[in-house]
Amino acid sequence: MARPPISTRAGGVLHRRVRVIRVLVLLGVAGLVVQLVNLQILRAPHFEKLSAEQLLSTVTIPALRGAIYDRNGQILAMSVPTKQVVADDFQITQPAAEAAALAPLLGVSATALAAKLEQRGPGAGHVVLASNTSVANAATIEADAFPGITLADSSQRTNPDGALAASVLGGTFADGAGSAGLEYADQQLLAGQDGVEQIGQSPSGVSLPFAPAVISQRPIAGTGLELTIDAPLQYVTEQALGTELVDANGVSGTAIVMDTRTGQVLAMASLVNTRQPDPALPTSQVWPTPTGIPGVFEAQNNLGVTTTYEPGSVFKIVPFSEGLADGVITPMTRFAVPDYVTIDGHVFHDAEQHGLEHLTATQILEYSSNIGTYEISHRLGESRLLNGVRRLGFGQATGVGLPGESAGLLMDAARFSPTDIASLPIGQVDAVTPLQVLDAYNTIANDGVFVTPSLVRGHIGTDGEVTKVPAPSQRRALAPVVARELVRMLIRVVAGGTGTQAAVSGYTIAGKTGTAQIPYAGRAAYIPGAYNATFVGFAPAEHPVLSMIVVIQRPTPVIYGGTVAAPVFARVMGYALHRYGVPTSGRVVAPTLAGGSVSFLQDVT
């Protein structure tokens, strides 16, 4: 058998090998196709996600915070859009040159800027050069395309009126969130809704120059607030209170003006005198912006709602309103009033020594007799007295909408001691806030109707549309006839009693003075020589439109509410009545409710 030639055998082997290689290549290509389908189609979303995570970063676009306006549309707080300038240090090759070019645009010295740009090593890389650069300057920086410099949206909160109403408005933290006052209380409304955008960045987190930013959610600007505050009246109130604070050497003071019918707060000042004579006395934290009066600053906490104090004689309306309501007294009911009484071993006395006086209920209030008030309370009894306290709104937060509002501290029936029947009605037991005291007197001015005070009267949408806030709630606290009798009695206080310095030419004023001792913290004793001076009242007494309280803490050496606080009331109320065009009362004549005269004219409880 002849063997095939060598070339033919070799050709067969070659063919087999080629076939095998072809099959292998085909298998390889098929494998690649399968992997291609797997990568490009089946697992594509997964890899797209991984890629996006490496290349894109989700950045929050801060929403522009809503502005705060006064009742006339005057801006009290506003956010101006700005840019944050950030440097990625390792992209910067010529720090000195870039610092020199950026310095005038950022308002920072070139040396300080160069030091920031030259930072290297751990912790460096992302350096904020300026937090609030104007958009115009930022546009110049962007146009000049400085390597390694990127811009981010930001905003700057501004108060054009400086410190005006700072204790009402509050402030914001560096991140823009409200830290105190209405800025804190209405944070959710003011803040708006932040937007979201995707920006290109390297795996190490550095923004890629010229990488397109994709906004997935646009920011929604915050809602603005239209306050009930009247900026000019607020200014006059602060100036009058601050001046008196300095003159009377007071530690701090608060003054609130309210629209009697609506409960809208027109002015609310809380000031601290940092130059008070005794530096050892405790003071409140203050906002750094000056008020224009040397040494006087806005308190950081709103003293009108956050601080409680024993109100002293202004609390006497509790037994009087309850006595009139229950028919226990009339304005003409006479009492034999000695200058002191002893109860359970404790001596209670009037502010000044006097003989046995025969006073009507009206005269007791007019001259702020502590012993006379005790006699009325004695007739009322404990239960009715405690009811009267609650009836006028004490012991519950007013609902004005400011953070940190205190409900006050009240005596209850379980702990009522025999001496409380004398000390509670003269304002030496319960601790209340100045706004609660004002509310109680406003109830009398408002024909016996208690109105919840308010500070915000409208919400301003991003389109500028104003939505009125619903009117605050009201409730009847006193019968109209009781309220009117109390008004007639309170007119006497200003016409010829302890509050004559609260008089405003041309108008009938009704009000009450209070000079209250300040207790030690945690001790059942009073600090010698330490008093809170108060005047609270309303005008015109015939048809009240404005109510106001002034409290000055620790005045010295003159301590009386009628001497220290009442003049502030007169100055501010005179301005306010004139500003709002309130018709004058004609010839001011105090109602003749009681005859006789008394020999004491101050009210210290």
């Binding site: 506003m78 101006v80 859009p81 958009v135 000019p232 100036q239 030419s505 010839r587």
Partner: protein, 103 residues
Amino acid sequence: MGIAAGLVIVSLLAVVVGNMQLAAGQLRLSQVQAQVVALQSSEAAQQVQAANLVSPAAVAKDVRGRGLVQPNEILHIPAVSLERRLAPPTFSYAPCCSLTPGR
């Protein structure tokens, strides 16, 4: 075959031109958006400036600078009812010169 190739080339060119238009539009849009942001910022800054000028403290400072002072007391004129009849005024004619006609 030539027509088909031509159609493909024309279509590709149309896509390229369309893309260019789109890119130019996007650029213009982002420029306009930047302008809007700048104008909004400028408006807000001007509002703040205006509020600064009319703030009670600024007005009071300006007024004091012009030498005006607060009165110690505001004297309010007592209100008078509109129904109250006022007494007729009493007056006499003021002495006057003799007028020369025509001059």
